[in-house]
Symmetry: C2
Subunit: 187 residues, 2 copies
DNA sequence: AAGATATATATCGACTCCGAGGTAGAACAC
DNA sequence: GTGTTCTACCTCGGAGTCGATATATATCTT
């Protein structure tokens, strides 16, 4: 997840580690800062893998910065992750939202649409969150805990909101992909 | 998170590992199954810490089950985690929803209200998710990516839904806590 | 009769990430 | 002038989790 976020941000424009840290924190955990001990070793690994290069530049107020730039290899890797995300990126909300934040780097509307459809399919499964002693699902109105009731209520509302957006977005992307295909045939 | 979920479920009624696995999967990742290699060592650790005991019982169709029961020590531990959750349990949606699923095990409405208020306070912070090259926040309507736009839109809608529910719930709990205090003073 | 599937438990190596610690310079408050 | 905060980088140990692998039984399918 962190690797995707780093390459995704660098695809927009070059950044140094400290800046990256703040951007990832704002996006991923909203406000949960990403630890230095996580960020810097990950940058190092991406550099060793040839996904990014660094240039030392003078710091604005303090120590010199390492300006990071994404390479062609890094761009390819990012696109592979976005095009064929692992299942957990579809089902884990945190990871999904990070993926969504960089999906525009996949420049083919058809490919974007396919990823959104995977999420859409996942959200379609009705949520059975709680079960009784015999293993039978307990419907929201039978739950004794008001917190569990609220949890399911919120969960349902959130899902409907996202499904709504997904449907509109998928339709729009498919329309555009259709035009692109038609234009390509004409030419 | 997994430890809290295990003790939380066992607080309702005794369960064996396999059953626990399915319940945690349904709740936590919604559908993301928790790996065996995660569950069983965690159960073992909780047992060693005196938080649960196990009794071997014949399996319904297969190998013998280890029926797990929570101890007084385990109940105390669970309540401590619920009463004073670490910051990440407030800010990470996945973890927060797990906490919410077991908050009814904290039987004092005042304590429950305090936890909800912490979440409420966190949600009040306006989300600045994306920044431009100069580090200035980019408002949703200025974002070029429709995915980022959707992301912020959904995020906002979700927050409002949860805030609404939290406010109602906190008011109800405080009302009840007031009554309890009044009744206690009368007696 | 053989193979797949569901139940049920357990270990091990790998990976991700965090938290605590260290280095260092500039700005700002007291 | 001294302490604190913010910028900026880095390492090490540990916690948590996953995926692969192993074992075993019962049922259902072919």
């Amino acid at each position: 997840m962190l690797k995707m976020a780093i390459l995704g941000f660098l695809r927009d424009f070059p950044l140094h580690g400290y800046d990256l840290k703040n951007r990832v924190a704002a996006l991923a955990g909203h406000v949960r800062p990403i630890a230095d001990g996580t960020l810097y070793p990950t940058i190092k690994k991406l550099e060793e893998a040839g996904c990014l290069t660094r240039r030392t530049a003078p710091g604005s107020v303090a120590a010199p910065r390492h300006m990071l730039e994404i390479t062609q290899e890094g761009t390819d890797q990012l696109r592979r992750w976005l095009r064929s995300p692992e299942p957990v990126f579809i089902t884990d909300d945190n990871k999904w939202y990070v993926l969504l934040a960089f999906l525009h780097h996949l420049d083919n509307p058809r490919e974007q649409s396919i990823v959104l459809a995977r999420r859409r399919e996942f959200l379609d499964q009705p949520a059975q969150l709680f079960f009784d002693e015999q293993g039978r699902p307990v419907p929201p109105d039978r739950l004794e805990s008001p917190f569990r009731k609220g949890l399911m209520q919120i969960h349902r509302s959130v899902n409907l909101t996202e499904i709504d957006w997904l449907d509109g977005q998928i339709a729009e992307l498919d329309r555009r992909a259709g035009y692109t295909a038609a234009t390509a045939r004409e030419a």
